[in-house]
Symmetry: C5
Amino acid sequence: MSDTAAPDVPQTLEGWFVQHALYHVDWGKVRALAPADLARIGGEGERWLQEAATCGKGDTAAYAVIGHKADLMLVHYREDIDALKEVEHSLAHSPLAEVLLPATSFLSVIEVSLNEASAVAAKKLAEQGIKPTTARYAAAFDQEMSVQRKRLETRLRPVIPSARYACFYPMSKRRGEKNNWYALSGDERRALMRGHGKIGHKHHQQVTQVISGAIGLDDWEWGVTLFSDDCLAFKKLVHEMRFDPASALYAEFGPFHVGIRGQPSQIGQWLAGK
Amino acid sequence: MSDTAAPDVPQTLEGWFVQHALYHVDWGKVRALAPADLARIGGEGERWLQEAATCGKGDTAAYAVIGHKADLMLVHYREDIDALKEVEHSLAHSPLAEVLLPATSFLSVIEVSLNEASAVAAKKLAEQGIKPTTARYAAAFDQEMSVQRKRLETRLRPVIPSARYACFYPMSKRRGEKNNWYALSGDERRALMRGHGKIGHKHHQQVTQVISGAIGLDDWEWGVTLFSDDCLAFKKLVHEMRFDPASALYAEFGPFHVGIRGQPSQIGQWLAGK
Amino acid sequence: MSDTAAPDVPQTLEGWFVQHALYHVDWGKVRALAPADLARIGGEGERWLQEAATCGKGDTAAYAVIGHKADLMLVHYREDIDALKEVEHSLAHSPLAEVLLPATSFLSVIEVSLNEASAVAAKKLAEQGIKPTTARYAAAFDQEMSVQRKRLETRLRPVIPSARYACFYPMSKRRGEKNNWYALSGDERRALMRGHGKIGHKHHQQVTQVISGAIGLDDWEWGVTLFSDDCLAFKKLVHEMRFDPASALYAEFGPFHVGIRGQPSQIGQWLAGK
Amino acid sequence: MSDTAAPDVPQTLEGWFVQHALYHVDWGKVRALAPADLARIGGEGERWLQEAATCGKGDTAAYAVIGHKADLMLVHYREDIDALKEVEHSLAHSPLAEVLLPATSFLSVIEVSLNEASAVAAKKLAEQGIKPTTARYAAAFDQEMSVQRKRLETRLRPVIPSARYACFYPMSKRRGEKNNWYALSGDERRALMRGHGKIGHKHHQQVTQVISGAIGLDDWEWGVTLFSDDCLAFKKLVHEMRFDPASALYAEFGPFHVGIRGQPSQIGQWLAGK
Amino acid sequence: MSDTAAPDVPQTLEGWFVQHALYHVDWGKVRALAPADLARIGGEGERWLQEAATCGKGDTAAYAVIGHKADLMLVHYREDIDALKEVEHSLAHSPLAEVLLPATSFLSVIEVSLNEASAVAAKKLAEQGIKPTTARYAAAFDQEMSVQRKRLETRLRPVIPSARYACFYPMSKRRGEKNNWYALSGDERRALMRGHGKIGHKHHQQVTQVISGAIGLDDWEWGVTLFSDDCLAFKKLVHEMRFDPASALYAEFGPFHVGIRGQPSQIGQWLAGK
């Protein structure tokens, strides 16, 4: 084993920092509140959510989560970790926090592979009939890459998709003794990711995927957030991907959380059980 | 490893969305309740269960679970995730919730393999002596498939079986470094599932199985609910299946929960310890 | 891999259903009780334990467990799951429950292998000089098997041994990618279990073993309860078994719980710290 | 695989039963206590610790543990499990328990390998020039073994070493699919343990090791307690051992707990934060 | 397998003992405090942090941690375990502790490999053209090593870097059945660590790394603390390292904690949500 070869590390662009923050609602406390207190907490909750979603430094969305793992999922997109900490800290001091108990959370940063950008650039030039070995190609490629970077920008700093349902799960690439993603060559990894990407693309009309990287930030390597108006679409997409070699051999999945989007104006009614 | 071959993904039909919701009863609180409060909670619990079971959008059943993992299991079948969230949310705001503590839950959707339907169709035609290579076969097959789809409909949107005992457990197919279900060919998987299905069929008189898929929805890939009037039947069925290669080599099992069916009218007495 | 061969599933006889129910004592609450309340709870605890042990549908024994995992282990043998649920439910409504907190539990059913019965029958006939290929043998074998079944009955529905110490642990057979019990042939499994049984037999004077099956009922496949008047005997038996191939290669062990038998009449004193 | 060969089980001698009992201190409760109550609990704690350490049936020592896993570790050496349960039960009823919350515990029994004794005996005879094949050797060996057993007695029923620091961790031998300690031959295990023992011996001046067996008693197979006046010595010893094949290939480690010895007379001051 | 060869154990120098102590803030309690009480706790918290950071026996820094795993991380560098226990104990008795709940912690000791020192020494001599086989070399090497040890001293007993962000995670080297760090030869390990070190060095301007050893002290083998003013730098560094064979094949990672440095004077405002 040589100690000199630099590993072929995938290049990525990073955008918003992301916090998925999941909370239990303390329903016992909610049920015991006087109507005026419940109305006050609901009103303050609405105001807080509205402010978080319109802070000008990113976006915030709320989901009613199904099952015992959590009741409420907040997804925050922000410029940096400071802004994420700020929104988390602000919630801890808001009246809404009186009926919330932290369940789990995940810190990551939206990322897009540069491989994809250069593949798109190369394809465009091929379609235009520009031959790779010409001087014209190099210039056209550079220009196309700068177009691609701009296009990617909207994926790096997006608004949270408005779909009715969201599915969030963290995942890592397997580092098994036989199947070890990080011991594959760059070519092997790129081939696997292309096949993987095709499945995502196939479901593209039904499901919007946001991938955020968490290596060095949290306990899993990526967060995956799926957005769709069809709640079966999550199952169909993840099911198909599971048979794809990139997942079949190399993916480890964390807990899955499924929620229904709620608007800030609905939180009061929701807490009141209406 | 090619990045172009589309994986041979099993085709499934989906029916009711399912929530298995397990709760601890706060017996200390129950014991401390004044008789009138206990009667009130019992009465409201009965009303809530009755309503949940007759909501017209699915079915709900309650089980007294044995052991420390939970005291009460509610099984909800519903049209979609919204209706499941609605029943969960409604319970959180009901008086019954005053004596319940969430223990665990599982979100899935009843699924039936289309492989099975086409195998049944092919078998029927063979019994009728129709040869596969004839034009008549294609038409007869299509018609038989539409019959099969209708037959499956009753399995996709069933009433919860009325058996005295239920056994619920989640499971996943193994993705080990040697034994990896998702790296098998479609033919290998179908052969294994046929053997597996035969064992289920053999115990069919004693045990009704409902399989629900959870890929993309919850932390395990499937939920299995067994229903029987003979509580030894769960052991016999699962024991025999464990030696079947589909389980022996490829199944990972989550926690098992065994419960005794209760009617809405019994909940008050049950809470009161009678 | 053929999908037609029926697996060679071991045949078992089942007897009592068993619940191992482990509780923490809320010592803080006990210490804070007025003497009269403590005396009342002790008295009711004694009455409840006495009734559970003499209910006519099985047996119940209580153990003071050492260590932080639990303080009290109740072992219930009952005719069916309903009777187990009944005793659990009855405890939840008894005054004794005021000072108990559920720690863990295990549901299983006492089982005896039929392999053993037929091996004993064959050995007896061999000792009598009856040759296996004769007609006389078949008749004698059938008669001997019916004798064996009766003998096993006392092991299937026993009284809980009166030994001073009990050691309870759940276990499963390994389903590893290389060492997979359920992928062995029936002959391999039987050979391994014979060697395993010999070690149990060797310690037979010091330790009584009760094996109960939990496949399809709880999270491990078996419960093992060892009873002895010598607390070192548990270590010696389990230590020797660990080197036996059936354990060395194929056993996975759950948590171990060691307790000291207490009589119903002792519970009041025990709670009072005397 | 033959089912007749008896496994080559290592022979051990057993001494004191041991409980490592770790507790959180409820510092919030301590801070809220009136000075007189704190003084009373401190005084009773001192009395209880003094009594436990001088009960005549073994020894007891207390350690202030660093980190969130526990605040206080009590190590009890006793004649049998009954005496261990007695001291645990006595603490649960003492005023000191008012500020303690159980964190974890471990039950084991001090053990010494007989291999070691016979190796020492053989070495002594070799040094005296007695040849193994002579009649004189057998008699001398038997006599030497009885000397060795007496010598070991002081290691089987020791006083707890008075060193300032203790490090406790449980461990098991690996039963992996490739590296399986229990599938090694007796000769292979003995060779590995000799190498392992040499490292312990090398650090002997700085660190006293007490090994206690827990197979059949608790969830790990052994408890290791290291005692030293140099808190770096734990790191150096365990670090060196980790490269020894017996550990490198075959050891699984549980949680590590490091504490500072306290005398009974110090507990009041300690609780008061002085 | 020989039992005589001494393993080739890496030599290390040790410096400060380190505690990473992570706490939840009890925000419900904070919100309910009267302003005067909150001001008092904030003031006492400031005083305590100031004292801890200037105790003369090491250093202390505080970080606001993002996510549900903790709210506050204290990093203490101290001369020995006694001084670490002292600062932990002192916090438990301080008013600040009224609003803190222990989350997790990690005990380790800053370590530097001696391999590195001798490699640096050898390189320097090579640059000066001194040939390894000469007598002059040996003397020059010894002198250079003493220079290196002095240089390392500042890394063994550092002040905590003042960077805005910190990332802390524990890790161990894998002891798998195929990839087992502790079964590699010393040469293999040194080659892997050299490659690993190069990546660290490459990011050296953006990220300061402090490695502390925990073998024999806590549940993972090392703690890694990264310090940077650029919160993306953690992701970039750890991402690149993951493809390095030393990590790809041999590293196991514990939970990651990311925090923002706070000064003692900020704690009151921070608790008050300003």
